[in-house]
């Protein structure tokens, strides 16, 4: 028997060869795609590369967590968009989890009205496309009165179709912050903190939509805990709240966490719908960048890479948490 034929007889060796062939094939196809695209872009005289990131963006962005002016670069404009995406996703996840958990628990409560109301909410919201819900939310906030007729429920708090304006703290003086009261100047409010209608509509839309799914996940998780556990806890003299907190939820979590992860990913991945109602997230900013520079392939690749990183990071975090709450059999 020759050595090669003998090797081929080994299942392990055959497996390795097949895997190597598949990986080689994938790399070859990928390389061919990239090369072909670059060649054809050049043939058509279309500029390529990421050089545009260092050029002046020249367009303004309505809300930003970091200082930004149109004189800044495309890279910084995209960073502003990324931070906006992260902000809306993080807040969306937090609020959706809180509301979703509450609704999920209430749907199981003994209170008939409460349980039915929660059921109606879940079924209505889950079955209407998110984009339409966003239009409704945005429609609602833009029908608020104009800036000059703003509702003024509390001193220094204004609600209008320019958003919710509340007093803020001005740290610029150094040392102790000064209360910064908003006031109407010209077209708009100046000073204070503004929650824009676009941000509010997107946050409300994402939260309400995702919370409905989370409610169902929470309900399924709680129902997965055997009834005997609850009865045993009650028999031990734990109150209803204590039973839920100490006995039911810890056991339900191991069922809840894996599907919850994909809901969290959905919040992030649904956030680009912002473009429909004018919130400047990463996709909205890159859209403008694409049109001004014409470099669609690079910008979209960049956005896809960033979303991949956010999603993978988020799911790594959730997997780590899942390991911690999973039942360990001893």
């Amino acid at each position: 028997m020759g050595g090669l034929a003998g090797l081929w007889g080994s299942r392990r060796f055959r497996g390795l060869v097949y895997q190597a062939l598949v990986i080689g094939g994938v790399i070859a196809v990928g390389g061919w795609l990239v090369r072909n695209t670059l060649t054809n872009l050049e043939l058509r005289g279309i500029a390529t590369g990421f050089g545009f990131l260092g050029r002046e963006a020249g367009f303004d962005i309505s809300e930003s967590l970091i200082p930004y002016t149109p004189a800044d670069t495309y890279a910084r404009a995209l960073l502003v968009g990324l931070l906006n995406t992260l902000l809306i996703s993080a807040l969306g996840i937090v609020f959706a989890t809180l509301i979703g958990t509450a609704v999920g628990v209430m749907r199981l409560s003994g209170n008939w009205l409460m349980a039915r109301l929660c059921g109606v909410y879940v079924e209505a919201v889950r079955n209407v496309p998110l984009l339409l819900q966003l239009f409704v939310w945005y429609g609602l906030v833009t029908t608020l009165p104009g800036a000059r007729q703003a509702l003024n429920p509390l001193p220094g708090v204004f609600l209008s179709n320019r958003g919710l304006v509340i007093p803020g703290l001005d740290w610029s003086g150094g040392g102790w912050p000064v209360l910064d009261l908003p006031r109407l100047a010209g077209f708009n409010f100046t000073g204070g903190l503004t929650l824009s209608p676009e941000f509010a509509a997107l946050l409300a839309g994402l939260t309400v939509y995702t919370a409905a799914f989370i409610a169902e996940i929470v309900r399924a998780g709680i129902l997965s805990v055997p009834k005997g556990q609850v009865e045993a806890a009650r028999a031990l003299g734990l109150s209803k709240g204590q039973t839920l907190r100490l006995v039911v939820l810890p056991q339900a979590l191991r069922v809840i966490v894996p599907p919850l992860t994909s809901q969290y990913l959905n919040v992030t991945k649904n956030s680009p719908l912002a473009i429909a109602i004018g919130y400047p997230d990463l996709v909205a900013v890159s859209n403008t960048a694409i049109n001004q520079t014409g470099q669609a392939v690079e910008s979209v690749a960049l956005v896809m890479g960033v979303f991949l990183c956010i999603s993978l990071g988020l799911s790594a975090l959730m997997n780590w948490y899942n390991k911690r709450v999973a039942l360990v059999s001893k």
């Binding site: 795609l33 072909n36 695209t37 054809n40 872009l41 043939l43 058509r44 005289g45 279309i46 500029a47 020249g58 367009f59 303004d60 962005i61 309505s62 002016t69 149109p70 004189a71 998110l130 984009l131 239009f135 945005y138 429609g139 833009t142 029908t143 104009g146 179709n161 320019r162 100047a185 010209g186 077209f187 708009n188 100046t190 209608p197 676009e198 991945k269 649904n270 680009p272 719908l273 473009i275 429909a276 004018g278 400047p280 996709v283 909205a284 890159s286 859209n287 403008t288 694409i290 049109n291 001004q292 520079t293 014409g294 669609a296 392939v297 910008s299 979209v300 690749a301 956005v303 896809m304």
Partner: protein, 341 residues
């Protein structure tokens, strides 16, 4: 689930860049072979490109498509339209998805060079303006300091706006919404103090979407130059020439007073210029690679530039735009056809 036109646009580029190798100089042959012109137009901009009550595309930009089809096939109806968003339009042309882009696109240096396009000649000279509520009582764009401005993304408009406010040391807040209808309804509901776009578009939006057009005014100043021109892919001069001369033929016909109604009569005229234009004297068609009656067919089926203008955006339309910069040079405008000889 997600509606990301940019992604679609990039997929379009990547997909078609892979699918078909570039073939310079062959657009005319390819168009003739498939039997129709694939023309990229606006998703729906009243007066420029929008489907009419019967579902046929109509407008000033659509007339450019129809003129080119008339020149190539002798039949202005041999056009298939691809409605494109602002973000999709350049990739669609770059990738070969469409043969001609006639979608109120501003001729800029970047688009002409780095983006691999060639513009033929402006079909409409426009400028960026502002529409505001009459109630605000504004007289000038300079009074907009601190205003919230609604604007479409992915257009030169967004950058012009930033430039203008920067140059005048004024501040503003942009509200950037991708869909025309959503943007306009946000504006009309009072989310923004002003709507900024090309003045012709503002007139179209006011005529088509305001519940009471009288309540809205377009401020007199224009803050930019927006020469709207059809575009073709770079590297095919024969095709660019054909589109350019189809446009010139329409303007030249207006200069000469030839209309769709009088073109048959004009072909009998002893005027050598007209004889050359209308193919009575052969030569022009051969030079361009099309039938000698190319210009005759354009004028007979689409009309001269003035007819197209008045029908789509001028006094015979709801927009009621005046000719302004788009009048013939003899009337103080910028429309000037090179001599077709």
């Amino acid at each position: 689930m997600k509606l990301i036109p940019a992604m679609a646009a990039a997929a379009l580029v990547a997909g078609s860049v892979l699918a078909q190798p570039a073939h310079a100089g062959a657009t005319l042959d390819a168009v003739k072979a498939k039997g129709f012109l694939q023309c990229g137009v606006n998703l729906g901009l009243y007066g420029f490109s929008a489907p009419d009550a019967k579902g046929n595309w109509a407008g000033l930009d659509v007339d450019v498509c129809r003129a080119v089809a008339a020149a190539v096939f002798g039949d202005a109806s041999k056009v298939k339209y691809t409605p494109l968003s602002a973000q999709q339009r350049l990739p669609a042309l770059q990738s070969g998805e469409i043969d001609l882009l006639a979608r109120n696109t501003t001729w800029t240096l970047t688009r002409d060079t780095a983006n691999g396009l060639d513009f033929t000649t402006p079909s409409y000279f426009d400028g960026q303006g502002f529409m505001v509520s009459k109630k605000l009582g504004l007289k000038s764009v300079k009074e907009l300091n601190g205003a919230t401005v609604c604007v479409l993304p992915g257009t030169t408009t967004e950058q012009n706006l930033s430039d203008f406010f920067r140059a005048n040391k004024m501040s503003f807040k942009p509200v950037v919404i991708e869909k025309n209808e959503e943007l306009n309804s946000a504006f009309f509901s009072g989310r923004c103090d002003a709507l900024s776009s090309d003045a012709s578009q503002l007139a179209g939006i006011r005529a088509g979407q305001a519940s009471n057009p009288e309540d809205w005014v377009i401020l007199p100043e224009l803050i930019s130059k927006e020469p709207l021109a059809p575009a073709v892919r770079q590297g095919d001069p024969q095709w660019a020439d054909l589109v350019r001369w189809s446009q010139f033929a329409m303007v030249y016909a207006e200069e000469k007073g030839v209309t769709s109604k009088s073109v048959a009569e004009a072909a009998k005229s002893p005027d050598p210029d007209l004889q050359r234009l209308l193919g009575v004297t052969a030569g022009n068609g051969k030079a361009m690679g099309v039938d000698e009656k190319w210009a005759y067919n354009i004028i007979a089926q689409v009309g001269n530039y003035g007819e197209s203008f008045e029908r789509n955006v001028g006094k015979d339309s709801n927009l009621k735009l005046s000719r302004g910069l788009n009048a013939l040079y003899t009337n103080g405008g910028l429309m000037y056809a090179m001599p077709p000889r």
